[in-house]
Symmetry: C2
Subunit: 299 residues, 2 copies
């Protein structure tokens, strides 16, 4: 089964790899050169650790299926990836999850000290908004980029990622219900996935119905991604590249529903995700494949 799955996704994996390299080359070009070597080293080790780059790839794929120019959305996708990296740095801090390993490497504060890690996270979110303010050759214009910045800020803010993280910390060691679990992860993970899709759509001047459809797709995809992450945390072993079992003090989708229940939930979410793409017909095929791929991943 695992061998068959690998064969089925060989083309997709090649395509994702190509996009990933494109994202990483752009990140490299966009990372700020400053006069804070200690902070820049912390940014370097976190931003260029091995990563899937799913969020910017999502922006690229959405722009692509809507007939937009992926190049035009690439810097905006990289801004999302910078904010995502900043959020990982903060999540791992001693005052938060106190994680020692991430993406197969020691976490940012382990390598660069707490102050270095916090300043790196701050520099990354700042640079993300700077990129959107500066712009890049071609569309979107200043109004389009302001719309993108608005979406990104909404996803990060006190009803987005920050609300999810705050609730997650408050609920450590506590029993929580399913709706709280969903509150946390629809914000911690879902919000940036939704913003990534929306940004890809905004950059190609999609119609409101198209924007709504890709956002629904991304919302379910993001939650499915998190459920699979919880599964990997339980069954993944060292291949997961981060502290496996670190979530023991937290309610996860697996501790809540069991391994089988969480697997079924991930499948349901992916079905909902794919259903949202119906209006696009065959041209949304890459997004459908991505969804099926996300739910079968093992790391």
């Amino acid at each position: 089964m695992s061998a068959t799955a690998a064969t089925d996704f060989a083309d997709l994996e090649r395509a994702l790899d190509e996009r990933r390299l494109q994202v990483e080359a752009t990140l490299r070009r966009l990372v700020a050169e400053g006069q804070a070597p200690a902070v820049e080293a912390a940014i370097e080790s976190s931003l260029f650790a091995p990563a899937k780059r799913l969020r910017p790839i999502l922006s690229l794929l959405v722009a692509d299926i809507l007939g937009g120019d992926p190049e035009a959305v690439l810097p905006a996708g990289c801004a999302v990836e910078m904010v995502h990296t900043a959020s990982l740095i903060l999540d791992d801090l001693p005052s938060m999850d106190d994680a020692k390993m991430r993406r197969g490497r020691p976490t940012c504060h382990v390598l660069h000290g707490e102050a270095g890690a916090i300043l790196a996270a701050f520099a990354l979110i700042n640079r993300a908004f700077e990129i959107l303010a500066e712009g890049w050759p071609g569309r979107p214009d200043a109004m389009g980029r302001a719309a993108i910045a608005r979406e990104l800020a909404r996803a990060v803010g006190t009803d987005g990622m920050i609300a999810g993280q705050s609730k997650d910390l408050l609920m450590t060691d506590k029993t929580i219900d399913f709706s709280t679990l969903e509150f946390i992860h629809s914000r911690k993970t879902g919000a940036l996935f939704m913003a990534s899709a929306e940004i890809g759509a905004i950059a190609t001047r999609a119609r409101p119905a198209e924007v709504a459809a890709v956002v629904t797709y991304a919302k379910n995809l993001g939650l499915a991604f998190q459920v699979v992450d919880d599964l990997i945390d339980v069954v993944g072993g060292a291949a997961a590249g981060k502290d496996v079992g670190k979530d023991l003090k937290k309610t996860t989708f697996v501790s809540f529903s069991g391994v089988e229940g969480a697997g079924a939930l991930a499948q349901e979410l992916i079905t909902a995700s794919i259903a949202a793409l119906e209006p696009f017909g065959p041209r949304a095929q890459p997004l459908r494949e991505l969804a099926r791929y996300v739910v079968t991943r093992r790391r």
Copy 2:
């Protein structure tokens, strides 16, 4: 002398107070309502602690003397104040200056925990850029607001505030030379002062020479402000409202030049600051008064 000074500045103090209330009412209106009560409480206690609001007031005064509409620049000035507050929250963290008191109250992490303080700082910088992306009635348009966001990000980034803070932390307990001391404070304090002035000028479509003049004014004003801060830290007593003497492990302008030398330096910087206003003639009088006031402050 002190009584004379108080009398001399009575009108200015009334005017500053009026501006301060205007800034605080706008901050109140602009602060995000979310679903992260713990983080929002941390924002509330830091953003609405007693404060001078000098940075947004500087934006307002610059817009005013250039014939612009202060209302049009007010939200941008408040965005700067949010970023400034975020930087204070971070500076006070145990992994940075480990300060217990600020603006006459326990620091943010003392009241709300480290994670709460870090998320509050992150939420504040995020909201600052969200405000600039959203815009407000009247000018500046999306292009003008993008220029403002660019300036703000530059002031914060790895050649701005973050570089100053990083160097400051690295140099704790070390002997440093004057140019390093200037590097640190022209970035930690100067950069946001310069951005505040520039933002006031951008919002009123000032000519490049006018922008350059107010930026030079603000650069010297910001550094003078920091020198006076160091003096207050040594001689201020409890009236300073923060941990007095906390800078003992750091080289300050006072430990470097002595009380008299630092006083002379502050005066020199204020003279340079006022000299930069020459092209504006009499209409820059409020900025001149502000500069003279800053150097005489006792808290």
